[in-house]
Amino acid sequence: MSLLTASHITKEYGGRTIIQDIDICLEQGELVSLLGLSGSGKTTLFHVLSGLVQPEKGQVFLEGEDITGKPGKISYMLQKDLLLPHKKIIDNVSLPLVLKGARKKEARREADPYFSSFGLNGAQYLYPSQLSGGMRQRAALLRTYLSKSRVALLDEPFSALDTITKGQIHEWYLDVMEKIDLSTLFITHDIDEAILLSDRIYIMTGNPGQIHQQLKIEPGRTHRKGFTLTDEFLNYKRQIIEILQAAPALPHAQETSV
């Protein structure tokens, strides 16, 4: 049984079908990307998976439990770090614990040991505005982690970072995922990022959005040093670009960043 399964998801807004009959799954420990042009309904799918909205059709299962329309089971992270400006970092990251009923003091005590492994030591009692973009993003990740769900949905979390910071945070994220046994579903429109990080890639196209194709990326994630310079990498990239270009044009579609 897969860790997370979504079957036949259809979501409409105001009579317009945004995504149609989507089937995806996520296995334990996997990092799977959802790649598609802007407007293909990736974010809508995430809203359904995280339980924020109820789909017109279809169901979401987490370890066999039906969680359709039930928020609080899967953690969610966006491009914006969305740290609350008035809370110190330690209170920001331990917010999921407080929301579940922990006292502020207990929550702080529980969060504190993770600061060093998330590269945030010394930042506990600072405010978000006093941190760099990369640090804020790591704090957002720690918050995601402390929500203790086994699945994280990441909606273009790194797209605001510069290339070098992005590279570092990729490496670090894969490392953390390994350590804390987290499985990730990852939205991106960056083809390179998707190939580099993923075990599998779902390519979403169309209007309404549908899963067009699924790609399994070989070699495995742990053997990808210098992968971006290999022929395999370019082959994957060519394949994806062809699929995306063949897809019917979307209204207001933007260029993919390649």
């Binding site: 928020p71 914006k80 609350l84 400006p85 809370k87 110190k88 917010l95 600072l126 405010y127």
Partner: protein, 259 residues
């Protein structure tokens, strides 16, 4: 230390301008260009201020009490109403225009009616202060609640937060800056509102003192009251600033991070 120095140099032009105007005023009065029955000199005002200080303080205590009660009720009312208006759109559609209309009614027209209804005691004064102070605070809070990024609310819902938790952890703190801007305006409105309603009927308070001084042609005392009202308003605003800094320590941190 550096900050302090900066503070002083920032305020220097304002202090110099004010000192210049007072000096000019004094010169015009002492030289006899302006007769004392039209404009008392600054020195005369200050001496009237200290000469009748005990009496002034007794009246000020009454006015301050009215302003404080009114402001408190206004704040509490705004705190109760704003989340309701924010939560229920129908309520907002129904009451927001009414709130705006109450703001267009001139205070001076409303005060006698309130006296007629509630007598010459404190009640009509407090009511007037409530009406004038409620609006800026309620509007500030409402705008503040709306200023939260919808993605923040989505994220918190995805974490399983209840509506109350979202309000407590995100919306309410986000509204604090606007709340304090509203409170700053309201604090000075409160004093002015109380004084105006005292003009129009009452036995005690700075407004009453003012009316009596006017009737006695004691213009130096009238100006002394104005001076006192200015001082009180400035003190209240300063107090609000201190409260704001205590409630929002992260703003101070941001400020020092930028420098």
């Amino acid at each position: 230390m550096k900050e302090k120095l900066e503070n002083i140099t920032n305020k220097l032009p304002a202090v110099l301008a004010l000192a210049g105007i007072i000096l000019l005023w004094q010169v015009l009065c002492s030289s006899g260009v302006l007769p004392a029955y039209m404009l008392p000199s600054p020195v005369a005002v200050v001496s009237a201020f200290f000469g009748d200080l005990p009496n002034l303080m007794t009246h000020a205590a009454v006015t301050l009490q009215e302003a404080a009660y009114g402001l408190m009720i206004g704040v509490v009312l705004a705190f109760v109403m704003a989340p309701l208006l924010d939560r229920f759109e129908l309520l907002q559609k129904a009451f927001y225009p009414i709130m705006i209309i109450t703001q267009t009614i001139p205070t001076i027209a409303l005060a006698p009616v309130l006296v007629l209804w509630m007598g010459f005691g404190m009640a009509p004064k407090i009511t007037l202060v409530v009406i004038t102070t409620f609006f800026p605070i309620a509007v500030g809070l409402l705008d503040g609640y709306k200023s939260v990024d919808p993605d923040t609310i989505r994220l918190m819902r995805a974490m399983g937060a209840s509506r109350v938790q979202i309000f407590r952890h995100a919306q309410f703190p986000a509204a604090l800056p606007q709340f304090f801007s509203g409170l700053k305006i309201s604090a000075s409105y409160a004093v002015v509102g109380a004084v105006i309603s005292e003009w129009l009927g009452g036995f005690e308070g700075l407004g009453v003192y003012m009316t009596r001084s006017r009737k006695a042609y004691a213009f130096d005392r009238m100006f002394a009251v104005i001076l006192l009202i200015v001082i009180i308003s400035l003190l209240l605003m300063w107090l609000v600033n201190i409260l704001r800094d205590i409630s929002m320590p992260h703003l101070r941190a941001e400020h020092s991070a930028r420098n």
